[in-house]
């Protein structure tokens, strides 16, 4: 695979489409030779990122859309998520204090930690009217067929 290969999917901003995104991501990751354990991690990271967009950026407005692009190049699987909702600060990636969250009856905060745990690199940016999340996962080393 000398050249980068790109795949895209656009989903309505509704949680019922999370399963569709997970399937799409798993298919791409399989194509990039990831093991099933890593595929599971990548699916979870993208699910968490999309859930955050639906919840925080779009406030559950299902008329909005999330654009997902996956690029597979020689060494990396690059995932880009775009939305036009309210930008949110992902904050730090410290392990959430679950005991404290239970005490305060507060859910959430766990998704970003999991995303950063499972992906090699995560970047958030805001471009004009769009929010962009870029996640990278290093591909498993491929044995040369030479």
């Amino acid at each position: 695979m000398a050249d980068a290969v790109k795949h895209t999917i656009t989903i309505p901003a509704s949680t019922e489409y999370l399963v569709q995104v997970r399937e799409f991501v798993a298919k791409c990751a399989r194509q990039a030779d990831f093991m099933e354990t890593d595929i599971g991690d990548i699916r979870l990271a993208v699910d968490e990122a999309c859930t955050n967009i639906i919840k925080h950026a779009y406030k559950y407005d299902r008329n909005q859309e999330i654009y997902v692009q996956i690029e597979i190049n020689k060494n990396w699987l690059n995932i880009t998520l775009l939305d036009s909702g309210i930008g949110f600060d992902p904050g730090n990636s410290k392990k959430p204090d679950i005991q404290e969250s239970i005490r305060q009856k507060k859910r959430g905060g766990m998704g970003i930690y999991l995303i950063k745990k499972f992906m090699n690199k995560v970047e958030y940016s805001h471009n004009g009217t769009m929010n962009e999340i870029r996640m990278k996962k290093m591909r498993p080393s491929i044995v040369s067929e030479d």
Binding site: T15, E16, L18, V19, R22, T37, G40, R43, L44, D47, E48, T51, I54, K55, K95, P96, I98, Q99, S101, I102, R103, K105, R107, G108, M110, G111, Y113, L114, K117
Partner: protein, 117 residues
């Protein structure tokens, strides 16, 4: 469509919830409703058997977080069992095993309840 199902059973005053499929931000509402029903019917000793649970995201974990304290304050507990390594890993990464009883097998969870009663 999301592939997720919940089945309920009762054994000697213990309520067993069996989860099957993928638990995400969409299907979490089904689990929430199932727990709310049990609590409304004053069933506070709950075992969640995760044998056929193939996937969980943080939204699923959030449901357990929301009800564990309520149930414990009413003299019960939510114990989890039969998790695949993949599902357990998500609980473990977030530190749940120190706060929840996560047992290898449903029979162990039943025994834990029986020891305490």
């Amino acid at each position: 469509m999301s592939d997720f199902e919940i089945n309920n059973r009762s054994i000697n005053g213990l309520e067993i919830i069996e989860l099957r499929g993928e638990l995400d931000a969409h299907t979490a509402a089904q689990l929430e409703t199932a727990l709310q029903k049990l609590i409304a019917l004053k069933n506070y000793k709950i075992i969640v058997n995760c044998h056929e649970l193939e996937y969980i995201s943080s939204a699923g974990l959030g449901v357990f977080m929301a009800y564990i304290e309520d149930v414990r304050s009413l003299g019960g507990d939510i114990k989890l069992s039969n998790m695949s390594p993949k599902v357990y890993n998500v609980f473990d990464l977030l530190g749940f095993p120190t706060l929840y009883d996560i047992l290898n097998d449903e029979a162990d969870a039943i025994e834990q309840f029986n020891i305490k009663t």
